[in-house]
């Protein structure tokens, strides 16, 4: 609750900061301070200190899982702001508004991670989506950005329609929007429930860009300003995933046998399309878009397994994935050439950046010692515990091997290829380097000791 309210307030504060503060740096500082504040109040709430006692009538429940997840998301956002906030200046003039939107989105994220009513889920998703449409189109002169924004908006609204139909059918079957199900009540209108479940599945799959509802992802991620792509591809995706898993864990537990197979199919298709398509990409940004689809495929395994390990794993996955991808996007945002060749010889020019980037890429590829490995490890471990899952797991790891191909192309470019004559990068500030170093350290730390994260769950 703390985070929900504070983030809303912060959003408003940021709205006004553009009027009050002329200096962009000051705005940035306010935002960073705000996010740190968010983390603090959230951690306080984990410790039991709740500032705002609001009766939500059971529609929102901040349990340990949600709080821990929020902390991770806020931490990721902090890192994101530290690394990329400066690059937002390049996007457009509404600098402070971007931060306001980001804080509103975080507000939506807290809702999505803690809803117990479909209404809240719906509102949360919309609070996330609407600012995102804006952020995607924030580079107003850029036709790509326009296009991405409109595509995202149209497709997103379409999926909202699907979601609402799903909610309506759910309501028809259950008579309530609450996801807290009395296990004793059996639903008579099962087709209604299953149809509703399917539609919700589709729309949530759309939001997490799972195939075959992923089509918006590459275009939107590609078109959006890189700083915001970073935000969308990581924090938002992870947040929606938490919503996804909560929804299906709570509301549809009774029909698990029905949706599990579909999740399996969607997982397989997502892994396949994401990984395979990424192979041929020439632009790193677009590659990362496909890679985010592929990673979503892996995260779907947690949904498929839906056991304790899966949920723990999803937290780690979210953290690992967010940290790594944010870092890569942050570097990418500073490059003038988004193709793979743009990275040629980076290790010579910027050894530290190259090294940290390599670690992040290794993490995404799932190489041990990095958080990415453990994340995948958790997913596989969770999935293999469910019966008849072997084919899916094997498919998943084979696709992971494919993913190595495109992640390593970047490493190859950085380390083993000669750079072009002209400097294709802007200068990296020492601050940025330091932040990258910390990020890489975090990724490795998490890869070695996942306990530090998971143990919070059992406080």
């Amino acid at each position: 609750m703390n985070a929900l309210i504070i983030s809303a307030i912060l959003g408003v504060v940021m709205m006004f900061s553009s009027i009050l503060l002329k200096q962009k740096g000051a705005v940035r500082n306010v935002a960073v301070t705000g996010i740190i504040l968010l983390i603090l109040v959230n951690i306080l709430e984990m410790g039991g200190t709740v500032f705002f006692k609001v009766n939500t009538r059971g529609m929102i429940v901040f349990d340990q899982f949600a709080l821990l997840f929020n902390s991770i998301i806020f931490l990721a956002t902090l890192i994101y702001l530290l690394l990329s906030a400066k690059d937002m200046e390049k996007v457009g003039v509404n600098y402070a508004e971007y931060f306001a939107l980001i804080f509103f989105i975080l507000c939506g994220v807290t809702l999505v991670s803690s809803f117990k009513s479909l209404l809240i889920l719906f509102l949360g998703i919309e609070i996330i989506s609407i600012p995102l449409y804006i952020l995607t189109g924030s580079d107003k002169r850029n036709l790509k950005s326009n296009e991405a924004s409109l595509k995202y908006f149209l497709l997103g609204s379409f999926s909202t329609g699907l979601m609402l139909m799903g909610i309506a059918l759910y309501y028809g079957a259950r008579g309530t929007f609450s996801t807290v199900i009395d296990p004793l009540i059996t639903v008579t209108a099962k087709p209604l429930l299953i149809s509703g479940m399917s539609l919700l599945l589709f729309s949530m799959a759309f939001k997490v860009s799972a195939a075959p509802f992923h089509f918006w992802t590459p275009d939107v991620y590609d078109g959006a300003p890189t700083v915001f792509t970073s935000f969308m591809a990581t924090i938002i995706k992870a947040a929606v995933f938490i919503g996804f898993i909560r929804l299906f864990d709570d509301a549809f537990e009774q029909v698990q046998s029905t949706w599990r197979i579909w999740i399996a199919v969607i997982t397989a298709v997502t892994l396949f399309i994401g990984n395979i398509t990424a192979v041929f990409q020439q632009s790193v940004k677009r590659m990362l878009a496909y890679s985010s689809i592929a990673q979503a495929g892996f995260m779907l395994l947690s949904l498929y397994a839906m056991n304790t390990e899966a949920k723990e794993g999803l937290l780690i996955y979210a953290a690992a994935y967010c940290f790594a991808t944010i870092g890569i996007f942050a570097v990418l945002a500073k490059m003038s050439d988004y193709t793979f060749d743009g990275f040629n010889g980076l290790s010579k020019k910027e050894p530290l950046i190259a090294a940290t980037l390599a670690i992040l890429l290794l993490s995404l590829a799932g190489i041990p010692l990095t958080a990415g490995f453990l994340a995948k490890f958790y997913m596989l471990k969770a999935a293999i515990a469910t019966p008849n899952s072997l084919w899916l797991v094997i498919f998943a790891v084979l696709m992971a091997a494919v993913s190595v191909y495109y992640y390593f192309r970047v490493i190859q470019a950085m380390y083993f290829k000669e750079g072009s004559t002209s400097s294709s990068t802007t200068e990296f500030s020492p601050f940025f380097k330091g932040a990258m170093l910390i990020l890489a350290g975090l990724v490795i730390l998490l890869g070695l000791f996942p306990d530090i994260l998971v143990n919070w769950l059992y406080f």
Partner: protein, 491 residues
């Protein structure tokens, strides 16, 4: 503590080396580090033989059912010693090569050593997997950065290939873990599993693929000649001398004892593949003109024999394999040292372009001939006892086709003689030509490295028992564990 230091020393020094700038210093430091590791390894064999020194367990990833547990058993002793010996040799033998960014090169080499040690010591499946990959990553960077012209594609193929294998293994590990009663990754827990034949069978292939690619066994070998050819030679030495042993170790520690029934059931298939590989690789080696590729194919043949002998599933075969793992490592490093010298001096690896080196560089010729002969298992050289025991194991295998296996594997011995002697003849004998006319003989450091190798060759050749004693308990326990005859008796 010995076990811990074997990993920790190279890891720490490896990380330190990154920050040294001066090339000489880097080399010296790396060399000293490798010597220190060797000392630790030797101490583990002599002064600190007691159980408590050889074991190391620490808490790690407790909730996952894993722990940081290391142990130096017989095989571990042997392979760690091999790793520890090969590094000083490699550094010494390639002392004259210079690299761009030497600190990175040597740091990665040492990190790879830490990874290798970890693979050989890990008694926990997750830890094993960790190190398995960790050994690979530095190798990937080493080969891709300092290799030959086609290094990037070739190394990448190698990497993806092995990566696919290892992720499949990961699934196997995960499945096994999910079946253990206390959800533990420890080796002991795996050993206590009782799985049905069917389950074992598919698990077997998940594991075997990983190991087969690593070793490599026909037909999963095509990454290997390319990689050996393109990698910088010190890396190739480690790859072929030490790293391929990871696959064999995997078979011996993680496959056979865990899945004994499947190993028995599929043993014939695996042995057939291995033995096809022996003949196949040997025949290709005969036609090779590139020394590196020749040695690479010869390595495939040798590894094929080891793999086959493992699946003979008797103590003689096991002991032979263990001994041969060590000796093959020593020998092939020796071969590479000379190959590297040749390549560096003459700028070519083409056998057809060389000739008459024995006149110009007699010491090199002598060393090479000795090592090459050891490589084809001449008696009183180190490989003999190993191959002897392996063949003995093969002939006494439980398989119905043991005689065929032995005969065809034996064909490999003959073919090995053919290609090895042909190479010696073409490279060292005959008249000198324009390329080799200006040849000079070995430098002191090269002589020293090769001298040590030759001493090892003869020592292990005359008194192989020294090593056999080290691994005796291990192979005894292993053969007892994989003995599934009691299952048949019940029926």
């Amino acid at each position: 503590m010995v076990a811990f230091f074997l990993i920790f020393l190279p890891l720490l020094t490896g990380l330190l080396v990154f920050f040294i700038k001066e090339e000489k210093l880097v080399k010296g430091f790396a060399f000293l580090s490798s010597l220190a590791t060797l000392t630790v390894s030797l101490l583990g064999l002599t002064l600190f033989k007691a159980e408590e020194h050889l074991q190391f367990t620490a808490q790690w990833m407790q909730p996952l059912g894993s722990s940081f547990s290391l142990k130096l058993d017989g095989m571990g002793q042997l392979l760690c010693l091999l790793t520890a010996i090969s590094y000083p040799l490699v550094f010494l033998g390639s002392w004259n090569s210079s690299y761009t960014k030497p600190s990175n090169f040597f740091a990665l080499m040492l990190l790879a050593q830490a990874g290798l040690m970890g693979v050989f010591l890990a008694m926990d499946a997750l830890l094993f997997y960790f190190f398995w990959e960790l050994a690979l990553i530095p190798m990937y960077f080493l080969c891709s950065q300092w290799g030959g012209e086609r290094r990037i594609q070739v190394t990448f193929k190698f990497f993806i290939y092995t990566f696919i294998g290892s992720v499949l293994m990961l699934i196997g590990i995960l499945y096994l873990q999910s079946k253990t009663p206390d959800h533990s990754f420890s080796l002991r827990a795996f050993y206590n599993l009782e799985l049905t034949t069917k389950t074992q069978s598919w698990l077997f292939w998940l594991f075997f693929l990983a190991f087969a690619i690593k070793m490599p066994v026909f037909p999963f070998h095509t990454w290997q000649p390319d990689t050996y050819e393109q990698s910088p030679t010190p890396t190739t030495m480690i790859l072929s001398g030490v790293m391929v042993k990871m696959g064999l170790l995997g078979l011996l520690r993680w496959l056979l004892p865990v899945l004994p029934i499947a190993s028995y059931v599929w043993g014939d298939v695996v042995m057939s593949l291995s033995i096809i590989g022996i003949v196949y690789a040997s025949l290709i080696a005969i036609r090779q003109d590139d020394i590196k590729r020749l040695v690479a194919y010869s390595s495939i043949a040798h590894i094929g024999l080891m793999c086959a002998a493992i699946f003979a599933e008797n103590k003689s075969g096991m002991q032979g394999v263990l001994l041969q793992m060590f000796n093959h490592g020593i020998n092939i490093i020796g071969l590479w040292i000379i190959v590297e010298i040749i390549e560096r001096r003459f700028g070519t690896r083409k056998i057809s372009e060389l000739g008459g080196l024995a006149q110009k560089a007699p010491a090199m010729a002598i060393f090479f001939v000795i090592i090459a002969l050891a490589n084809i298992a001449l008696p009183l050289t180190n490989a003999f006892a190993g191959e002897f025991l392996m063949f003995n194991g093969l002939l006494n295998a439980k398989s119905n086709y043991y005689l065929w296996f032995t005969v065809f594997a034996g064909l490999g011995i003959i073919l090995a003689a053919v290609y090895t002697l042909n190479m010696i003849r073409k490279v060292f004998y005959g008249e000198v030509n324009t390329i080799t006319a200006a040849a000079t003989d070995l430098k002191l450091n090269e002589k020293l490295a090769l001298g040590i190798i030759v001493v090892l060759i003869f020592w292990m050749g005359v008194y192989p028992q020294a090593m056999l004693d080290v691994t005796d308990n291990f192979s005894q326990a292993l053969t007892e564990r994989i003995d599934i005859s009691h299952l048949f008796r019940k029926k």
